[in-house]
């Protein structure tokens, strides 16, 4: 069959095999190969056994022929003793034919023995090879499994590091943004102070007002100082407590009032 059907079928099978090759697990292939080697070893061993059996059969035949041969020799001797030379001749000629068979069988026996020795040696060598392969196969399998695990760990790590990278980038972006905002705030303050930028909020004060504020602020401080001195002179313990309480309160408030740009 060489038509379209056959050719399409062949192409499909070839492609399917290729697809299988790609999906193949090397560990399974190694196990399969080991299995095949064991089967081969089994075959060689069976061959050795077959040859040995044939050798045994030949040995039995040889024994039988040799027995017959010695019987014929005895018969020849007896015939000669009885003066029957014709019978003796017959017995000896039969014995000669048997001897020919014996020597033929002996050649065969020798050949088989040589064959058997060779096969036994081959089986031993093959056994050693199969054993070595089994050890190697297990090593390769272990290495492959380890490599596979390592790859998986590597992949997991690269995944993690990518994620960490993302986090790092986010922090970096936040820091950059903060720094930009701080710089911008600083710049605006400077510009406002120098008068280069007008304050549109209407809260900005001119130089005179600022000086007045400073002076009046100073007056307030002086007044307050005088009030406190008067209180202390009075020896009031309640006012002491009030100061401590006030301090405590200011300490508690401090973290809330102080702007912090903490990275963590």
């Amino acid at each position: 069959m060489s038509g379209v059907m056959k050719r399409m079928g062949m192409i499909f099978r070839a492609k399917a095999n290729k697809a299988l090759d790609r999906a193949e697990d090397p560990r399974e292939t190694l196990d399969y190969s080991y299995q095949k080697q064991l089967e081969l070893l089994q075959k060689v061993r069976r061959g050795v056994a077959d040859v040995a059996t044939s050798r045994k059969r030949l040995e039995l035949q040889l024994n039988q022929l040799q027995k017959q041969s010695s019987t014929l020799e005895d018969q020849g001797r007896k015939a000669l003793a009885l003066g029957r030379e014709d019978l003796a001749r017959e017995a000896l000629s039969r014995r000669a034919a048997l001897q020919q068979q014996v020597s033929d069988l002996e050649v065969q026996h020798q050949t088989l023995q040589g064959e058997e020795e060779k096969l036994t040696l081959a089986a031993q060598r093959l056994q050693a090879k199969v054993d070595a392969f089994r050890t190697k196969k297990e090593t390769i399998k272990a290495t492959y499994t380890a490599a596979e695990a390592q790859t998986r760990i590597g992949e997991a790590f690269s995944g993690i590091s990518e994620e960490m990278g993302d986090v790092g980038m986010a922090i970096q972006r936040a820091e950059d943004k903060t720094a930009t905002l701080q710089a911008r705030a600083g710049a605006i303050d400077e510009l406002l102070a120098s008068g280069a930028l007008d304050d549109s909020s209407g809260l900005a004060k001119d130089d005179i007002q600022s000086e007045l504020d400073r002076l009046s602020g100073g007056t307030d401080v002086e007044l307050e100082l005088q009030r406190m001195k008067a209180e202390l002179a009075g020896g009031s313990s309640t006012s002491q407590q009030a100061i401590e309480g006030g301090q405590g309160q200011s300490q508690q408030l401090q973290p809330r009032d102080t702007p912090r740009f903490d990275k963590q």
Binding site: G3, V4, M5, R7, M8, I11, F12, A19
Partner: protein, 92 residues
């Protein structure tokens, strides 16, 4: 033998039918090689009809590898030719 008709499914065919089918299959190949589009179409339909007639359809969920594959009834000569080109049916 299991024969697949692309796009249709599989049928089981007794080996005794193959002499008859082979004749049509060889004819189809000749027509494809010579570029006889109408002859190709006629023979392809005849071959597919014969396969359907002689074969016993396999259930859709049967998992049997197809030993022979036939193009779909509406496949053109060029399509079949490209399927049989070096790249085969599935690229890569």
């Amino acid at each position: 033998m299991i024969v697949r008709i692309m796009g249709e499914g599989q049928v089981k065919l007794a080996d005794s039918h193959f002499t008859e089918l082979n004749k049509l299959d060889d004819e189809l190949l000749e027509e494809m090689e010579s570029g006889d589009e109408s002859g190709f179409r006629r023979t392809l339909h005849a071959l597919l009809d014969k396969v359907r007639e002689l074969g016993e359809p396999l259930p859709d969920d049967a998992l049997e590898p197809s030993e022979l594959i036939l193009p779909a009834p509406d496949a053109t000569l060029d399509e079949v030719r490209s399927m049989l080109s070096d790249d085969g049916l599935i690229p890569g």
